[in-house]
Amino acid sequence: MKETVLPGHEQQSSDIKCSSCGRFVGALTRCPHCGARVNKRLSVRATRYAAVFLSVVGLGLLYWMAISQKIPTVKIGDITPTMNFAYVQIDGKVSSDTRIFKESGLVRSLRFDINDGTGEIPVTAYQSQARELIEKGLVPRPGDHISVAGSLSVAADDRVQLRIQVADQVSLVQEELGRTPINELTSESGAVLIEGTIVKVMAPQPGKKQPWSVLVADDTGTANLSFWEDVYVDMESKDKLIQGQNIRLRSSIKLYKGKIQLGLARAADLEFLDTTLTTPTPMKMLQRADSLTIEEITADLKGQTIETEGRVIQFQESPTPGKAPTRIIIEDGTATVTIVYWENVTQELGEKKPEEGTRLQVRGIVDVYKDTIQLKVNYADQLEFYQMPPTKPEAKPDITLIGEIGEPGEGEVVTVSGRLSAPKSIKSGVIYPLKDKTGAIQMLLWDRNIPGEFRDNLASGKTVTVTGELKLYKGELEIIPESSHAIRIH
């Protein structure tokens, strides 16, 4: 039967007609003519809630899927650039010291390297994660077995690192190391335990960013131990860091200018031993064929490479580089010798110039020029300058009670001791209020005087003894130490 369409209703949608009787029903859901139900059109509101439902359910599924999957374990050698941002687990052995970076006494980050046999990767934890690792005693030492999960960051030129997101995902098995003789150390040694005797201690020059350098000897050889000022500050028995002291050291091997070097990231990894080691005396260790006193350097050795050391007594910079060499004269109590080097070494040394009194270790070729013995140096790394370390504990300064300090005189220097309060940053420095039982004074640390690394060891609540010039600024007493050596942290 042909459907009747009312005139003018040809374009009408079938949705507004009763599908039973075919008559117009408009928006009604039941036909007013025959009573039949009229098919309902899809409500826009329904699609909205369907979308909400879809997204919430989908998100729930995604979440379930995410937490159900195990964090994938990857080999360092298999990491590719497309794995940037991946959350992965790496199992391996800690291959470096853990460096802890602080700012204004607060731990900002820590960093160590892991080696899993297929490669090496630096691992970093920032702020709260780094602090949590320290609090939980999860700071790895070289040689420890570690399993750690985190986000990969892969940059160009194979610069890859893993960032720890939660401390709970670090699992550490501390490894007990056997003693390694120094002559068996190689750049591949990784973590080692060294037992030996301190032969020589070289402190950094005041105001210069240099590490401490300690020559350690055992019955097989010598090795240089290097560490930064913050490690020295953390040492409980600083007075034992002297020549002749027996030590046990857990360290990682580093290469510096092609030479093997022992690293020390934490003071706790250096143990001062009270027992005597069965090693030959350290000074005897230095009696090697190529390490001579200046007196022993004779013209017969011409052409041979030898090593010696002494105190700089004269430094003559070449007035005409390229035509005349630079000369340094050193003495060691037995004799003096002239060291010569040319422009290329001067350029390599840059700003580094020996001052009179500086300790100098040199490796050079013996030469005779106008009947005078000389040591010829061809590379800058054949010269090592050291400041002489204190050979005996410093005398205790007289401590002035803060409450007893009156109007400061011009250039008046005092030593005070007290507890630090919360610091306040100022332009080019930081101020720590320092209190003792009699009063308070502002300890003003200028950036130019006190390096950031040292300031990182200061924190509110710590007790310090400080020597510095007194100043009165806006009615408040200030003490201004000249260098980090003027501050002792207890």
Partner: protein, 444 residues
Amino acid sequence: MSAFFIVLASTLVGTVLSCVLACLPGLHVYNIMGLLVMFIYLLADYQIILPPEAYLPFMAGMIVGWSMLNTIPAVLLGAPDESAIFTVLPGQKYLMFGRGFEGTMITGVGGLAGLFILIFIIAPLAPILLPLLQSVLRPYMGAIIWVIITFILMSEWPKGGNTGPAGFAKFFDAWKSLAAGLLTFLLAGFMGFILLYRSPISTEMAFQNIMPAFVGLFAIPWCLLNILSAAEVPEQHIADSLDVDAATILRSAASGGLGGSFAAFFPVVTGGVGGLLAGHATAQRDERVFIMSQGVSKLIYYTGAFMFFFVPGLGLTRGGGAWIMKSLYTPQTSYDYLMILGAIAIAGGVSYLMMEPLTRGVIVLIRKFNYRYISLIALGIIMLLVFLVTSWVGLFIMLVGTGIGLLPVLFASRRLNCLGILLLPIACNMSGFGPTIAAWLHLV
């Protein structure tokens, strides 16, 4: 072949390719760049190492061309990416009045103005000012992101509830779009946490973790809407002049330049957010200024963020393009910077010249073919891309993203809320408690 010709050739090829691809609705340049980077790695596996002079200008050309021409689908096909959200309403108005060509070209002029700002103002100052600005602002970046989030959420306004009897129905009517906006932001943020901390995407493709979600949040809902839409596109008039003057261009450049620069410099802030902030800050009311400033903002955001990656001594990685490049190349000297600046300038000129013929071409296309079919083809291409890079898991993430991305469309709230996927987790991370929240969610 000398480096000059390699740079020139790769810039031109990248620009032309991206100009053509930009005409497809919903297709993002970062998706293509991701594929290209994978291709470069693949070549490296076969010991074919491309010089940086070949791929860096190519990528620069891709970004410039796309950011200049993606206005074409945004205006003519109504399928914007998140940075072009604000172009849609006035743009669609132009389209419905038969002025789609003019609307597109006005945005293009904005893009050209943006390039002038970038090359002649921002580029010379960037190496001097940005490292300083970066060191000053770095400790406060987290706080800045939170302020932006607060502004985005609080500057949403109730749409409805003006008429009818008082009571819950009226209250609900007024608040439903606001609530939908908040819900979108939170759901997207939750999804961001999942994808950043425990993405189901395989670790081998982790660098594209967010890509399927972005496609779902922004591209798919608009493609779907275009396909389902019953609107007929009227005949478009090809104008031989534009209804803009020097004052309009200057006002647009100022407003868009501010927004684009802000977005390019601050982390996670995109062109859309920058445009929103600059629009409020400079209070521009003229529709032409609005459209043109979006062109300026969009271009400065995409191209500027990429350019900042190469600023000597800055070390700033902003925007998806720079992040994709980071795993491939480390800029070293001003040689790289000058090369990129040159490539950007060339690509800008070429892409603007391509704007007119391509706009005409798309107008002819939508006259001959139903533009729903074009959206359908684009949808197919995007889904294929997602599948190729991230497999079935990626498609599932895209589907979930689509659900969230449909909320603002259906509840008439801002699509900008979908950016919660990055804003929320990154702001939490920058404030130092992101990992704690991830741990509460058992994601880590």
